[in-house]
Structures are given as C-alpha cells and as structure tokens.
C-alpha cells in the first residue's frame, strides 16, 4: 500500500537534493545556510517519526534560527525574461500539458479510485491520502513527459524547483511552526481562558448577541492563532454548546458548520494564517507582506456578518 510515508520519502529526497545543490551554488553568497535549512527539512521528512519529540523540537529551533535571522539567500536567475518569452512562443500551448497531466492524474485518479469499486477494492492507496499520492504520481509523470519532449539537462527540474523553493524561503515551513504554536496554546488552556473572558461580556437572554459573540469570537481567535481549527474547540466550549445549543436550543449542525466558516472569515484577515496569506506573497514576489490579506478583508467582513445572521436564522428557525 502506498501512503503518506512514501510521499514524505519522495519529498524528503527532493529537499535533500535542494540542500546538496545549494551547497554547489556559488552564485548564492549564503549557500551554506540554504544547504543547512533544506537539509533539516529533508531530515524531518525522511526520519521525523524516528527522531523523537525532543530531537524534532530542536530541529524546529534550528530552522527558526536560520530562517528568523535572515540567513537564507538566493542564487542567480537561470534565464532572462526575453529568453522565456521567445521560448514560450516557440513551444506554444503545449507548455500547459505537463500541468494538465498533474491535474488530471490527481483529479480523475482520485475520482476513479474512490468511485470505481473494482479499482477501490485493490486497496493500494492509504485511506484519505489518495489525492496526495496521486498528486505525486502526476508530478512524476509530468517530469517524464518534460524529459521526453524538451530534453532538458538531467538536473534542470531540480535546479528550477530549488530556484522557486528559495524564492519562497522559510515561509514554506512557517505553517508547521504555527500548527505547533496552536498545540501549545491548546494544551496550556489559553483558549479556555479567552473563551471565559468573551462569555463575561455578552448580555444574558439575547440570542442575537450570543450569535454575534460566537461568530466574532471564532473570527477573532482565528485571527490571533491563524487557525480556525484552534478556535473552534475553544468557542464551542465557551459559547457554542452551553449557550447556543443547550441554552437556547439551536440546531447543533448549523451552529457547528457555520461557526467553523465564521472562523474561516478570520483566516482571510490574518498574517498568522501563513500558508494562505504569507506564502503566496513570497511565491508571487509581492513587496507588501500583507498584500493578500488586504485584498481579502473586504470579502471577509461582509461574509462574517452573513455567517452570523445565517446562524441566527437557520439554527433557530
């Protein structure tokens, strides 16, 4: 059976290759730090389950030191805009084919695997990890196609992958750091304390006020932690269950489902949700760290209001 562990081996090998290639890149003045950083990421992917919690923790500290003190650098560009323009004209729309290969393998592959009984019965993919495995298979097929068609130098895909990975830099692992922070906040009871504070300010007996406190609390706590998953247990325990569901008899499915979505409105508004809001800033080479958050806020605020009203009207219909 192919599963998550195999995916980690593949991506771990990829990052190990980035580390080695960084070491040999004399155009990058900070190449040793890049090699160390991607090497640690590779170690985590390849051997994370064998290292133990403490060693993993020190690995995290090491990554945060290298990334946090801006020790990472970038090498020289491999091609110029003019070269890419000319090449794009020459190869035309066929350049989309490899991406199509990845999307079709992942999308059609998952659908076929899940819904064609004869294929599903083979059981060769780990449950709930099908898309991840098929995404990797799609990438390998696309690379094969690129080699057969464009015949690049053998290391070119790895070098180009490293170029983009260096462009994103430490932001690639920031989401995992935030997940780690979320766990510490949960285990130390910080969430429950904040929930208690919110509960103290809402007037008793007012259903609409309770809906507002729940929805805004979900969004605010998500803004602080960057993760609606961290906010939900806190706000459900503080207001959702005792007040809305058990107190006023609200429909639990509505309160749960739309409460979570109110949290997602918070995710749109916070740099703490690094995976969604900081990573693309780096990936799209935007100057303003908060550029993505800024274009999302005007959607998030009215949608949060809509969610609160939806809870009020649908849970208490």
């Amino acid at each position: 059976m192919i599963g998550l562990q195999h995916v980690f081996y593949l991506i771990g090998a990829l990052f190990a290759a980035y580390a080695l290639l960084s070491l040999g890149d004399r155009s990058n003045p900070k190449r040793f730090a890049n090699a160390a950083f991607w090497g640690l990421v590779a170690l985590s992917l390849l051997a994370g389950n064998r290292l133990g919690d403490s060693a993993n923790g020190w690995l995290v500290i090491g990554l945060s030191m290298i990334g946090g003190f801006n020790l990472l650098g970038r090498g020289a560009e491999t091609t110029s805009e003019a070269e890419r323009n000319a090449s794009g004209k020459r190869y035309g729309n066929k350049l989309f084919l490899p991406i199509l290969i990845i999307l079709v393998t992942a999308v059609a592959g998952t659908l076929i695997y899940l819904y064609v009984p004869a294929v599903h019965a083979t059981g060769w993919l780990e449950v709930n990890r099908e898309t991840f495995v098929l995404l990797c298979i799609g990438v390998l097929l696309a690379i094969l196609f690129v080699f057969l068609w464009l015949r690049p130098q053998p290391l070119a895909p790895l070098q180009e992958g490293r170029r983009l990975t260096d462009a994103v830099g430490w932001a690639i692992i920031l989401p995992m750091m935030l997940a780690a922070l979320g766990l510490v906040l949960r285990d130390t009871g910080v969430g429950t304390t904040i929930g208690g504070l919110i509960l103290a300010v809402i007037p008793e007996g007012n259903v609409l006020a309770a809906c507002f406190a729940f929805g805004i609390g979900m969004a605010l706590f998500t803004i602080l932690t960057g993760n609606a998953f961290a906010a939900f247990p806190v706000m459900a325990t503080a207001i959702g269950v005792p007040v809305l569901i058990q107190g006023y008899g609200g429909d639990a499915a509505v309160v749960g489902a739309i409460g979570m979505l109110a949290g997602f409105c918070g995710t749109l508004m916070t740099p703490m949700a690094a995976n969604f809001n900081i990573v693309p800033v780096r990936l799209l080479e935007l100057d303003d760290q908060n550029a993505v958050v800024k274009v999302q806020i005007p959607t998030a605020v009215p949608l949060l209001l809509v969610n609160i009203l939806l809870i009020y009207f649908l849970a208490f219909r």
Binding site: L14, S44, V184, I258, M260, L261, L286, V292
Partner: protein, 228 residues
Amino acid sequence: MSHYLPLLGIVVLVLGFALRFNPMLVVPVAAITTGLLAGLDLNDVIAKLGKAFNDSRAIIIPWVVLPVIGILERYGLQQRSGAVIANFRAATVGRLLILYLFYRQMISAIGLHATAGHPQTVRPLVAPMAVAAAERQAPLDEPLRQRIRAHAAGTDNVGVFFGEDIFIAIGSIVLIQQTLEAYQIILRPLDLAFWAIPTAIFAFLIHSARLLMLDRALAKRRRAGPGE
C-alpha cells in the same frame, strides 16, 4: 489570577507581528513564553513543538509540484499563460477570477482541494492570466500589477475555504463532529456538509461582486487616461 499569565504569549505574538519581527522568531518565542508561564519546563515545550511540527508535515506536500512548474517557467510558461488570455477579447480580470473562484469551490466541494493552490495553479496560470487580462483593460503600474496578483491568490483562498466544507471527509468536519461528540451531540458528516452550502453561495456572490468592482475600477482608470 495565575491562569491569565500564559496570555502573555498571545501578547508576544501580536506585538511581534505588529512590530514586523521575523515570524520565524516570533512564533517559537510566543510558544515558549506561553509554555513556561503555564508551568511547563523548557524541554517539555520544545518536545511539544517538535511533535506538533512532525504531525503537521502533510502541509508541505503541495510543494512537490515546484520542479515541474520551475522547468516549465524556464521554457516560458508564465509568458504563455499571459499570451493565451491576451487572445480572448471577452476576458477581463474580474470574469477570469470569477470563473476560477467557481472552479476552485467546485473542485474543493468534491474533496479535491489539494489539486489546485498557490504553487499548483496560481503562480503558473491564474496570476499571469489575471495580469495579462488587466493589462488590456487599463495601463498598469507595478503596485497595481502586484494588487492583481494578490487578488489571484485571494480568490484561490476564498474558493477553497468556502468550498471544502461541503465535502464530508474534510478535516474541519471531523473536528466539528469530534468536538460536539464530547457533549453527547452526535452529528452526521452529511448534516454538517449540507449547512456549509448557504455560506458557499454567499461567499461566491460577495467575492464575485468585488471582482466585478475591480473591472469597473480598471475601466475608470482607462478613461482617466494613461497619464495616471
């Protein structure tokens, strides 16, 4: 009173971000502050960080596409994405992003949220197409070009957030179910997925309206002339 002490970790976090310190330092410092103030010793906090980091490694999987995207960029993929859109007369940045929003919500609603995203689709396809469409609508300067790219990323986020919860096997549905189960409230995933639909529709309407406003802003800019 002492159980309010760990909240100082949140203060560290908010101040750190507000003062624009590097997040890679702010986050572990906030975590360690919280842990120590809650009475854990340093080794426990670091082990906790290590375990959670290890458990969340699946976040890194979509980056596996970068070697393909990178090699295709070397052969002119982004330029090609722009050229394709330049040939569609009816294409505007607003309509293009609305179409992508719809695709992203649909694909996420059937559980395939991991097949698109910032590295997979936004950088190679959506962002260059959006900029190319906008270039035809009005003269762009660099800040505006960056804002269009930010819109491409934002549209992807809105699409995935308000599409994925319609799919019954997503992590957040499991989390809602498990949290409420602790209070003897038993819910079926299908009920939760069903109640994600109204918000999905409103998200599509609100965000589409904003994208059409972006088109109107570009039209206004064009009328104002290239001098601006």
